[in-house]
């Protein structure tokens, strides 16, 4: 067992951190305030190879492992969780299902431009009546000759509007429940595919979240991803891997807030002492640091499982539920250490606390993670 990062991982962390601190951090507050999508930064992420880290070189990727991916999302989220989820949703939720379930032609046509960062991807799964429960999927797909006709809408879609390529799910046979669902690849600009309302969110405000609307959207039959009826399975496997990205995002948010609090506690003087000299603050910092390290080990372990093609479901769910709850506790304590200043937008911990909340909700709520973990451990005995 080796807890040291390889030379490659150390170099990757340094590269992403240098980029994040020099180019992402300076505008993060502004982008949050104005809900401004980080389009330029996304382009730069592509140039740095951050759009297709885990995919083979032949499909435009870097061919690196999941730990490289986890570290990247962690480091981006340490300064800006919105950019972190933009990259994570793109890679994990759109490029990855195409990589795992796509045909050779689909990979050539869609995965390559996604992995190089030339195009941005998104996943359309959630609906108003289908959140945690995919059985409620009301978007329909009907096969007509060489085409599928899709009608319905998708809600809360990360990277919506800005993404070029979307993987979506639709119900083909209601009587079969989740086994009637199919997945499709669609493109921005296809007639019948438009965008509904933009969500105004509590956190990750510069990440784009839109409703997708399908009105007689006709797509060629070859855009079916996997088999008819396989859509639910595709979505679940996609989310298993996706949770590694969100766990990494949560870890990065926690790390960023902790560092801010640590720095501030050494500077802020009250009662003739720095906060860091007070035991009550020291205990907070000690707990924050300990929980972050524990979360990091879980996240990196989930990355290890994914890299080695071992079952990831349980480990990704554990990493996600733990890291997201740590992110919420740590950011809340960070605001507490900053006191009144922490509640203002003068310091980034206010944004970080708002950003942390979503990590307990999307790509499976904490409650769903516990269901996944329980189902896995009960199956093992």
């Amino acid at each position: 067992m080796n807890f040291d990062l390889t030379e490659d991982h150390v170099m990757m962390r340094k590269m992403v951190r240098d980029f994040a601190e020099a180019e992402v951090q300076p505008g993060a507050e502004e982008r949050d305030e104005h809900e401004e999508f980080p389009a330029e930064l996304w382009k730069k992420c592509g140039q740095l190879g951050l759009a297709g880290i885990t995919f083979p070189e032949e499909y435009g990727g870097v061919g690196a492992d999941y730990l490289s991916y986890g570290i990247t999302i962690e480091e981006l989220s340490r300064v800006d969780a919105s950019l972190g989820v933009t990259v994570s949703a793109h890679s994990s939720l759109c490029a990855n299902p195409i990589y795992l379930f796509g045909t050779e032609e689909q990979k050539k046509k869609y995965l390559i431009p996604l992995a190089t960062g030339e195009k941005l991807g998104a996943l359309g799964l959630t609906e108003s009546m289908a959140g945690s429960d995919s059985k409620g999927t009301r978007t329909t797909a009907v096969r007509e000759g060489d085409e599928y006709v899709i009608n319905g809408s998708k809600l809360f879609i990360t990277n919506g509007y800005y993404a070029d390529t979307y993987v979506i799910t639709a119900q083909m046979d209601k009587s079969k429940g989740t086994r009637g669902i199919a997945a499709f690849i669609i493109e921005k600009g296809m007639p019948g595919f438009t965008f509904g309302k933009k969500e105004k969110k509590m956190g990750i405000r510069s990440s784009s979240t839109y409703e997708l609307v399908f009105e007689n959207l006709r797509i060629p039959a070859e855009n079916l991803l996997g088999q008819e009826g396989q859509g639910f399975k595709i979505a679940m496997v996609t989310l298993d891997y996706g949770r590694i990205g969100i766990a990494s995002q949560a870890l990065g948010i926690a790390q960023g807030a902790y560092e801010q609090a640590l720095k501030y506690s050494k500077e802020r003087v009250q009662f003739d002492k720095t906060l860091a000299e007070m035991e009550v603050i020291q205990f907070k910092l000690a707990d924050m640091a300990t929980e972050i390290e524990a979360a990091r080990l879980l996240v990196y372990q989930a990355c290890h499982m994914a890299t080695n093609k071992r079952p990831v479901s349980k480990y990704a769910a554990m990493a996600k539920v733990y890291a997201s709850e740590v992110a919420n506790r740590v950011t809340t304590q960070a605001v507490q250490i900053f006191g009144g200043y922490g509640y203002t937008r003068e310091y980034p911990v206010e944004r970080m606390m708002r950003d942390a909340k979503i990590t307990e909700i999307y790509e499976g709520t904490s409650e769903i993670q516990r269901i996944v973990i329980a189902a896995n451990i009960l199956k093992e005995v």
Partner: protein, 256 residues
């Protein structure tokens, strides 16, 4: 066009410096990086390679940890590295390092030799210029702009109160000043490829030194700056305190 870049690994500029029991700088737990000025040199080399083709070779004198920084340069896009590592070199001064680098560079094809104008650790700003002398080449230091043609280069260098433009025939040595360029980040693909690039580690013997060049300067002695004294707080009525401030500035600090 073949380019050699002399690169030094230095302490991270935010590293805390401490001395060990034998009075040497303790380098055990220090984060290291490419000397920032050498990073400009690497970037300049990569730009020339993109324009003219050829290879960029990173040449360093260093120790156990130096390959980390050389790999970063390879990840940025340099083609190969030569590290000269020898226990004798732990005592090297600028003259020794320059002799060793010159010998290593003389054994590879080169048209241009680049380096930073100064290393941020010992700040001697000597090595690259000494390399030029050892190889009998012209050198231009503190370069802000570099235009290269077939077999000559026009370099703009910083001087007191302005700039100076110098044309030199190639091969030549140039040292980079901040402002020459904006070094690129190594990208993910570059990082993955770096570990498969050639990084030769040579001893002085391998380079063909019959005996190690001996340092010409005396032993360096290090000491840490003393603790800063606490400031003086002048209290009282404004008129009195200003009078006291003026008195202290003129009599104690002797600045007015």
């Amino acid at each position: 066009m073949n380019i050699a870049v002399c690169l030094k690994q230095t302490f991270d500029t935010e590293a805390k410096i401490s001395l060990n029991s034998s009075g040497k700088i303790d380098d055990a737990n220090v984060t290291r990086c490419i000397n920032p000025y050498d990073e400009y040199a690497v970037e300049a080399g990569l730009k020339l390679k993109e324009k003219f083709g050829g290879e960029v070779t990173i040449v360093s004198v260093g120790g156990e940890k130096t390959p980390e920084s050389m790999r970063t340069a390879l990840a940025m896009g340099a083609d190969k590295g030569i590290l000269i590592k020898d226990p004798v070199l732990e005592q090297a001064d600028e003259w020794v390092v320059a002799e060793v680098l010159a010998k290593a560079i003389s054994q590879i094809p080169y048209d241009i030799i680049l380096s930073g104008r100064i290393a941020v650790d010992d700040q001697s700003a000597q090595v690259a210029i000494r390399v030029a002398e050892a190889l009998g080449l012209p050198s231009v230091s503190t370069v802000l702009a570099l235009e290269v043609e077939e077999n000559k280069a026009v370099a703009t260098r910083e001087i007191d109160g302005g700039t100076e433009v110098i044309e030199v025939p190639l091969p030549a040595v140039f040292t980079a000043q901040k402002g020459l360029n904006e070094p690129r980040y190594p990208n993910m693909m570059g990082i993955m490829k770096a570990k498969n690039k050639e990084l030769k580690v040579l001893s002085l013997n391998d380079l063909g030194f019959a005996e190690a060049p001996a340092r010409k300067s005396g032993e360096a002695v290090y000491s840490l700056p003393g603790a800063r004294k606490a400031g003086i707080k002048i209290q009282g009525e404004p008129a009195d305190s200003v009078r006291e401030l003026v008195r202290l500035l003129s009599e104690e600090a002797k600045v007015i």
